[in-house]
Each structure stands twice: as structure tokens, then as C-alpha cells.
């Protein structure tokens, strides 16, 4: 506990608080604007963090992450447009409530649920991360390789499209990451005799291209008209004490579900919201109200999606394995700042590891206050025309890449990846799996090669070491489990029909 208190004390200075507050404001605002999101903003902010101290940079990015998931609630409720994918389930009940004249009440419930979800999951983050990191210090290369396989299979299994398209995306990400010098011998690989590719595809142009430029192209083609906008009064947005008791069980259950789904590598906050929403509907006394303006629906979705953020930070700081796509970008940010993601972070740079935990807590409080006071104003920002927004986003991408690499070639690479990312979206290949593959490729390859050297070229320990085998089992379950369950259900239903017929 001592390092955690020390971290709180360190972050109480003016500069850290300023960056946490700035990150929270930016996160909430961008999270509220449909089409922009945490992945986009964090990618866009990465070049700016070059000029910051590494701890400040990471806490700034974590604050953006925390804010963006909550911000999606505003546009989901007032505009029927989920600002982030994690707010999809909130739209189902938030907008109908707003149209009934209860926008303030819907926002109040969502803000309160987000806050409680964030607090409960933060407890898990603070309690689980240090011991998990301690345990992971005993992991060998094959345990890490198995973790990488588990992360890739899990995100491919839960992403849109089939498992195969997800895995194809992840493997293409692997392929792109292998261009340039080999991790062990520095032999040039896959450069096809082009000197420009001797450094490989750098992280920043690749991320900005795949996430931001491809999203800009998507937004130009898909400018939706804004739905009828509801408004909310500050008085109505204030949470009531009675809600804590009325929705207490739902709040705790959804927060715990969100946290655990967040901890699973690769599974994002959208899945957390969907699962907890389904569980809340199943256990509700009034399931028919879900989708028409149910308070329980908003509470379940919002507490779970916020809880998943802190949940996803657990494997990030304890194991160096991303819990979501945004975490994959945060791993990239750690690497850019010469920090080694993983359990060593707690021993080598405790101020960064505990800074992540502490900033998530402080940002949660900032976001709560900001949402209470500024929801109405932020909702107005959502209506800024894309004709003003999109060119500026492209310009900041150019500035970001050029200022960090001083190379126009990298700017061109960014645009090439933008078009490639858009093509992946069109082909039905989830770009989340591509980015995870790209980020995890160096870890996966170096662990495999270290393992082969350590065990005289044998892969057997991958299947005999208990943790490695456990991770592989989880990966196998994620790959075949859903199909197996649906086949069993179908068989059971067919058997039931036969009994009824007889």
C-alpha cells in the first residue's frame, strides 16, 4: 500500500493534476463526438507526449482513456448516436428516456453508474495488479508466448466478423511489424531492397493511419444527420442518494462483470456493456422495459463499460499484455517512452506503474464532476460540422507524425496505412485485431526465440508448464467454446422438440 499512497502524494502536484484534468476533459469531449474515440485521440496525442516526462505522459493518456468511455454516454442519450462503441447499449434506453422528457434523469443515472463502475473496478485494479505482477515475474518466455496467443485469439473471437477474419487481421499485423531489422540479429527482413523500409514501419504513422485516417475516410462517406436533440438541466443531472439503494445490486454486479471482461485480453468495453446489459435484463423484474427507456439498462451498460477500462489496465501494467485495443496503443506509448511494459514496471519504474493506477482513480473523479457540470455544453460540441473537424484531424496527424519523426516518408506511410485500414474495414477485417497483432508481434517473436534457445529448440514446455498450458486452454476455449455451446444448445432444442412431438 505504501507505494500507492506515495503515488497519490506525487500526483497531487499542480502539473500532474493539470494533465489529468486536461486528459479527462479531452477524453470526455472526444468520447462524446461520434466517429472520434479514445483510440483516435490517444494516437493523435502520442507525438505531443514526446515532450513530456514519461510518468506525466502515461497518466495523461490514461486520463483520456477514462474520460472517453464516459463521454460516449452524452451523445448516446441526447443525440441517439453512441460517441463510442461502448455506449451502444446506453443508446437503447438513454435516448427513449430523453425523448420522454427525462434526459436529465438518464444522464444522472449514467454518470452515477459510470462513477461507481469506475470506483469498484479501480479497487480490483489496485488490489490485483501488484500481486499479479509479482506472480508474472516468475513467468518464462513460453508463458508470455502463450499470453500473446491468448490475447490474439480472444480479441479475434469477440471482434466483429468471424474468428478467421479476426485472426487474418492479427497475422497481417504481425507481418507488418516484421518489416525492418530482425529483433535478434538485426538482419533486414521483408524490406524488398527498399532503404526507406530499413527502420520498419514505425508505431506512430501506422497507428495514426490505421485508426485516425481510415476513420476520417469512413466519416466522410458516412455523415449521418443529427437526430432530434434533447436537452438536460443541471438540476436534473445531479444524482440522487436513493439511486444507490435502488440500483445497488445492478451497479455492483455490472461493475464486477465489466471489470472481469476488461481483464480478459483483447475484449473491450463494448462487450462488457452488452454482457452486463443482457444479464441485467435477464434478472430484471421488468425485462419488457429494456430498450424503451429502462433505468436498469442504463445503469448496467454504463457501470460495466467504465469498469472494463480499469479491468483492462490490470493485464497492461501487470503483464504487459493489452486488455483492449486502446491498451495496445498505451503499450506503444510505454515503448515510445523507453519503458518496458510488463511486471518489471513495478520494480524498475514504480512511479509509472502506480501512476497509472492512481491517475485512473483521480481521472474518474474529474470525469464525474465534469459530466455533472458540463454535459449540456459537451452535447453542443457534438453538433460541430464534420467539415470543420475532419480536415483539422488530418492536419494534426501530419503535424504529429512529422514533428516526431522529421520525415515526410513517414507522413506518406501514415496515409498509405489510412487507405489500408479503410480497406481492412471494408473487407470485414477488424482493425483492432490488426493493431493488436502489430503491437504484440515483437513480444511474441522474441519470447518464442528465447524459449527455443532456453529449451534447446523444444516447444514441449509450452504444453507442460502449467501457466502456459492454462493460457492456451483459455485461448482454445475462446476459439471453439462459443461454437460448441451453440451446437449443444441446438442439439438440446432439437431433442426437446422431438420429446414434445412424441
Amino acid at each position: 500500500m505504501q507505494p500507492l499512497f506515495q503515488s497519490f502524494s506525487d500526483l497531487m502536484g499542480a502539473l500532474p493534476i493539470f494533465y489529468i484534468a486536461l486528459g479527462s476533459v479531452l477524453g470526455v469531449t472526444v468520447g462524446a463526438i461520434p466517429g472520434l474515440g479514445a483510440a483516435m485521440l490517444i494516437s493523435l496525442m502520442l507525438p505531443l507526449t514526446y515532450y513530456m516526462d514519461s510518468t506525466i505522459a502515461i497518466i495523461f493518456l490514461v486520463s483520456i482513456y477514462v474520460g472517453s468511455v464516459t463521454g460516449g454516454l452524452i451523445s448516446a442519450t441526447l443525440l441517439r448516436m453512441p460517441g463510442t462503441p461502448s455506449a451502444i447499449m446506453t443508446t437503447l434506453d438513454g435516448y427513449p428516456m430523453a425523448m420522454k422528457g427525462q434526459a436529465g434523469r438518464a444522464l444522472s443515472l449514467g454518470i452515477f453508474a459510470s462513477f461507481v463502475g469506475g470506483l469498484i473496478s479501480w479497487g480490483f485494479l489496485a488490489l490485483l495488479s501488484p500481486p499479479l505482477a509479482k506472480l508474472a515475474l516468475g513467468f518464462g518466455p513460453y508463458e508470455y508466448l502463450a499470453l500473446v496467443i491468448m490475447a490474439l485469439v480472444t480479441i479475434s473471437a469477440v471482434s466483429s466478423g468471424s474468428l478467421m477474419t479476426g485472426l487474418i487481421g492479427a497475422m497481417i499485423g504481425f507481418a507488418i511489424a516484421m518489416v525492418g531489422p530482425d529483433v535478434a540479429s538485426a538482419t533486414m527482413r521483408l524490406t524488398f531492397d527498399s532503404d526507406a523500409l530499413n527502420t520498419g514501419f514505425r508505431l506512430l504513422p501506422t497507428l495514426l493511419g490505421v485508426f485516425v485516417i481510415s476513420q476520417v475516410i469512413e466519416d466522410i462517406l458516412d455523415q449521418k444527420p443529427v437526430a432530434q436533440q434533447a436537452s438536460a438541466r443541471l438540476r436534473d443531472v445531479m444524482p440522487r442518494l436513493g439511486d444507490t439503494f435502488r440500483h445497488g445490486v445492478n451497479l455492483i454486479r455490472s461493475s464486477v462483470i465489466g471489470t472481469w471482461i476488461g481483464i480478459l485480453p483483447g475484449v473491450g468495453s463494448a462487450v462488457a456493456a452488452i454482457v452486463s446489459y443482457s444479464v441485467a435484463r435477464t434478472s430484471s423484474k421488468t425485462p419488457e422495459e429494456f430498450g424503451t427507456g429502462s433505468e436498469e439498462g442504463i445503469v448496467a451498460a454504463e457501470s460495466a463499460n467504465n469498469a472494463s477500462v480499469n479491468g483492462a489496465l490490470v493485464p497492461l501494467i501487470a503483464l504487459g499484455i493489452p486488455g483492449s485495443v486502446v491498451d495496445a496503443i498505451l503499450i506503444g506509448a510505454l515503448t515510445i517512452h523507453d519503458l518496458q511494459p510488463g511486471p518489471g514496471l513495478f520494480t524498475n519504474r514504480p512511479e509509472v506503474a502506480y501512476g497509472v493506477i492512481t491517475s485512473a482513480f483521480i481521472a474518474n473523479i474529474f470525469v464525474f464532476i465534469l459530466m455533472l457540470l458540463g454535459s449540456g455544453l459537451i452535447a453542443r460540441l457534438c453538433t460541430i460540422p464534420k467539415s470543420f473537424l475532419l480536415p483539422s484531424v488530418v492536419f494534426f496527424c501530419v503535424v504529429g507524425v512529422y514533428s516526431s519523426t522529421s520525415s515526410m516518408f513517414d507522413v506518406w506511410v501514415m496515409f498509405a496505412f489510412g487507405i489500408f485500414g479503410y480497406a481492412l474495414r471494408r473487407f470485414g477485417i477488424p482493425i483492432g485485431t490488426f493493431v493488436l497483432g502489430y503491437i504484440l508481434a515483437p513480444i511474441g517473436e522474441s519470447e518464442l526465440r528465447q524459449g527455443l534457445m532456453l529449451y534447446d529448440g523444444s516447444l514441449a514446455p509450452l504444453f507442460t508448464r502449467p501457466f502456459a498450458l492454462g493460457f492456451l486452454f483459455i485461448a482454445l476455449f475462446m476459439a471453439v467454446g462459443p461454437k460448441l455451446v451453440s451446437t449443444l444448445r441446438k442439439q438440446r432444442a432439437t431433442a426437446g422438440d422431438r420429446i414434445t412431438d412424441n
Binding site: 521483408l190 466522410i220 462517406l221 455523415q223 480536415p391 471494408r426
Partner: protein, 164 residues
């Protein structure tokens, strides 16, 4: 079950192309001297994995029910016009972006004026209403973002932009 279309075959095709490219790219890499795998090992593994995944995806798509041609009423003329306008907007946007980068890369115009022009012209392409007020607003945004932020980066963070 979902119906199949040509679009469903594209992920497998892309996987196959990348798989073959990886194996071809790893063909001439030197063998390892100090460790079991060497630099060519991982590209080969990933290349083979991509080809296997592409084959599995092809089988999955082949087993899907073919999509029945659905008789839909003709698309309203207005919708077709909107789609065409957005498509044209995207093409012009991409051309302007590439033009901007080319101008900056070749040093035909220095970074700040090129950026202001880019922001104004792309905003103009994307905007729906072209009133005097919108044009003025676009010009102000282009100046503030293009010139203002570039100058801040140049003077405060000492970033040297091309042509500056």
C-alpha cells in the same frame, strides 16, 4: 445464416496475398548461426498461418448459403445523388490531401501556407452550406489551426517543418 457474396472472399484473398508475400520475402534470408530459429523463421510461420487461415476462411465462406437476389424498389434518385456526392467529396478530399503532401514534400510551398490552403479547401469540399458566414468561419479555422498551431510548434517546441 448469412448469405455469401464476393465481399466475403476478400479477407481470405488478402490473407493469401500476405502469406505468399511473407514466404517469398523470407526466402533469401540467411540461416541462423546462434539460435534455432533465425530471422526467416517467424515470417515463414506467420506466412503459413495466413495461408492456412485463408484456406479455412474460404471453406467457411463456401459453406454459407448463397444470397438470394432481393427485389428491392429502385433507390430514390435523391439517395443516389447523396451517395454520389459523398463519393465525389471523398475523391476530392483524397486528391487535395495528396496534393498538400506532394507540395510540402517537394518544397513548392512552405508548410504553413500549404496547411492553411489545405484546411480551407478541404473544409470547403466537405461543407454542405457555402454561405459567406461559413466561408469566413472556414478561413478563420484554417488560419488559427494551420498557421497558429504550426507557429506554436515551431517556436515553442522547436519543430522544423519542411520549407520553414
Amino acid at each position: 445464416m448469412d448469405g455469401k457474396s464476393i465481399k466475403d472472399a476478400l479477407p481470405a484473398l488478402l490473407g493469401l496475398v500476405f502469406g505468399i508475400a511473407l514466404i517469398a520475402g523470407a526466402w533469401n534470408l540467411p540461416p541462423s548461426r546462434f539460435e534455432p530459429m533465425g530471422p526467416a523463421g517467424m515470417p515463414r510461420i506467420v506466412g503459413i498461418a495466413l495461408i492456412v487461415l485463408a484456406a479455412l476462411e474460404t471453406i467457411r465462406v463456401a459453406r454459407l448459403q448463397p444470397t438470394k437476389p432481393i427485389e428491392t424498389p429502385d433507390e430514390p434518385l435523391q439517395d443516389t445523388r447523396v451517395t454520389a456526392r459523398k463519393g465525389l467529396g471523398l475523391i476530392v478530399f483524397v486528391v487535395l490531401t495528396f496534393g498538400y503532401l506532394a507540395i510540402v514534400s517537394l518544397g513548392w510551398l512552405s508548410f504553413i501556407p500549404a496547411s492553411v490552403l489545405f484546411l480551407f479547401s478541404t473544409g470547403l469540399v466537405l461543407t454542405k452550406t457555402r454561405s459567406a458566414k461559413t466561408l469566413l468561419l472556414l478561413a478563420v479555422v484554417a488560419l488559427v489551426i494551420g498557421a497558429g498551431s504550426s507557429r506554436v510548434l515551431q517556436d515553442v517546441l522547436l519543430v522544423r517543418f519542411p520549407g520553414a
